[in-house]
């Protein structure tokens, strides 16, 4: 039993999800007998951490500040052990472009992509290269903000005419935007806990609105199946690949790796890694843990145990 500060909320666009994750984590920690302090992250974060002097901080933040290593850096400075990945892994994973380069360099398949800053378009004439990029990636092309954790700002461009507006939309969320080849196939999420891959969750769009991301992320429009019906060989391959990515990017504790299983080729492609995936009632990681026979309370207990450095 120890005292745990649960960091939640904050200023990110995913504040609401984080508050739900945080509240659920707090309840679980209390049931496990820990002394719990919930902190809605704001200007007084350092003061509140100092006052609480917790044995460990449970980072239940999603998106900017929480998943990009900023809060982790602060916790390092204060000498407070914390859950999930360290600063450098957070930085690598929260920037999809950095993560994709790392995977490509390591030979892990990830959909082809090109990434640009606004400066590239405004000062270097990158718009002139769009035609060549479109030829290479082929339509539909996925346009994404580089560092936005949720589905916000992600667009499918079906033709060249859609690309500029999609890029404008993505720059609403990020300084950097990525154009990515769209892999048509099944969407899989592999959660990692400790050094083990949990059962795979598949996201199935309920309606034929495959290119409408906002609809897909609206309650009731997507259903989730766990364990995904993939067969042993494919499941093992996806889990091994997710674990390899987890290690490559230096993740710790837990994370969720999102993959695509391409129709026809049965090739797997890694899209991204979430260092602090959602922990709400309906989030994918808790669902995967339950399927593996790990209750939510046990899951949270394990995550806290994994946070405390063994040699400390």
């Amino acid at each position: 039993m120890s005292s745990v500060a649960v960091l939640k909320g904050g200023r990110s666009l995913e504040r609401q999800v984080s508050l739900r994750s945080g509240a659920r984590v707090e309840n679980a920690l209390a049931r496990l007998g820990h002394e719990v302090v919930g902190i809605d992250v704001g200007h007084d974060l350092v003061a509140r951490l100092r006052a609480a002097a917790p044995d460990v901080a449970f980072v239940a933040l999603h998106g900017r500040d929480g998943e990009d290593g900023i809060v982790q850096e602060l916790l390092e400075a204060l000498g407070i052990p914390y859950t999930a990945s360290g600063v450098s892994a957070c930085m690598r994973c929260s920037d999809k472009v950095v993560a994709k380069h790392a995977m490509r360099d390591a030979g892990i398949p990830t959909p082809d992509f090109y990434a640009f800053t606004e400066t590239a378009f405004k000062e270097l004439g990158a718009a002139d290269a769009l035609g060549a990029i479109e030829d290479r990636l082929r339509f539909p092309i996925v346009v994404k903000p580089a560092d936005q954790g949720s589905a916000l700002g992600i667009r499918f461009a079906a033709s060249a005419a859609d690309v500029p507006a999609a890029i404008v939309a993505a720059f609403s969320y990020s300084e950097k935007v990525l154009l990515e080849r769209h892999v048509h196939g099944r969407e899989l999420a592999v959660s990692i806990l400790g050094d083990e891959a949990l059962p795979i969750v598949e996201a199935l769009p309920r309606e034929e609105d495959f290119y409408d991301f906002s609809a897909r992320y609206t309650i009731g429009r997507t259903e989730f199946v766990c364990p995904a019906e993939l067969g042993d060989e494919l499941s093992a391959r996806a889990q091994a690949m997710a674990l390899e990515v987890f290690r490559l990017l230096g993740c710790r504790g837990f994370a969720r790796v999102d993959l695509m299983l391409e129709d026809g080729s049965d090739e797997l492609y890694v899209l991204e890694t979430n260092v602090i995936p959602g922990l709400t009632e309906t989030s994918l990681l808790p669902q995967a843990a339950e399927t593996a026979g790990i209750s939510f309370d046990e899951l949270i207990g394990r995550i806290v145990e994994l946070a405390v450095p063994a040699a400390a």
Partner: protein, 463 residues
Amino acid sequence: MRVTPTRGGPGGLSQRRDLERYAALFASRTSVMKSSAMRDLMAITERPEVISLAGGLPDTSTFPAESLAALLSKLAATDSARALQYAPTEGMAAVGEAIARVMAAEGTEVDPEDVLVTTGGQQVIDLVCKTLVDPGDVIVAEAPTYPGAVPAFSAYQADVVQIAMDDDGMRVDELEETLGRLDREGRRPKFIYTIPTFQNPAGVTMSLPRRQRLVQVAHERELLVLEDNPYGLLRYEGDPLPTLRSLDGGEFVIYLGTFSKILSPGIRLGWTVAPGPVLEKMNLGKQASDLCSSSLSQLFVAAYFAEGRWEDYIASLRELYRRRRDTMLDALAEHLPREAAWTRPSGGLFIWATLPDYIDTTDLLALGLSRNVAFVPGRAAYLDGRGGSSMRLNFSGVDDDAIREGVRRIGEVVREQVELYGTLTGAAPSREQAEPAPTPPDPELANVLQLPDRAERDERRAR
């Protein structure tokens, strides 16, 4: 995100019991109750550092605190037992009289007996749906419509058909076409929902001929009209128009009124006047919902109206909001690029602005929030995904400086996006702002470039 039963596999159903337990209990109507990324974004607009032009808030700080204190302490001293007790479902008689006076101020006569006092105007929308709408029934509404009505319509699984508007409000010709089409499909709408005066969100007002025609159409087809009129007394210029309810044929109109914008939304009091049989069902519906509206609030309203200063207070609100509207219109002209258009409301609380169609105002809101400014993305006012390039701006809830600064920040992010889009498409971005519109040498060229001049643009209103 909703979790549904898995399709077998090891680990099976029993381990997901916890998740499934709730999902299996949800009524089918909850599947259309949407929780969206936009809703999460809207939650962030409430941070204190954000200048929010997103709300629909009246400025309650203008209500004299000493008046409130005097009224409440007198109420506590003289009528505390009644204030703490249940009230009749239809409302207290004294409130009915206050309502009759408010409606008379808009030229609408009503017998206090025909009034049902409700918990805000929102409850009227809910009760009308509860009374009239079966799953799949058609409701006709304006495009755009009041964003707060959308979840109510959705909760009753209505099929909402939205009718375009122009400067003169709902296009009644399009309404008639639509009714004809629905007729041929064997579908009869249950009611037509309209905010004829200073519409939320568009800010436009239905002209008198259209009002007359709408009531006539409803009469001919024996359709009910839900007339939502929260802002009628907040007119800043021009002559008042009659309510639909007061027109010949108005017996098919369900009238919705509220104290929210002329006194306080915090007291949660509204009302409805409806045809007898409808009112009776709504009364039963209200019994099931909440038995009665707050007695404390009702006695407060009765005392406030008995005091006789309510018209002065509304006059002071009119003066305040007129100035804020003008401030916002000036700021829009100064800060929005030429490609934008917006409405010029003669009353109410809202301006509807429409940007070039390549700008998505939901994404723009995320960018706006990074500069601490918020508005309502247009999509919230549609049930079919339209409205993506529009936004609703409120000018009543924040002071002049905040309006100016808020609009300046919105202008900044809009101009950034217009410029970026220009860079991406090779089209020359318009670096000029709206005000000093250079006269194009050739009017034909102006058309080709789609750069309407100022006068033309001012003609453009909500579409």
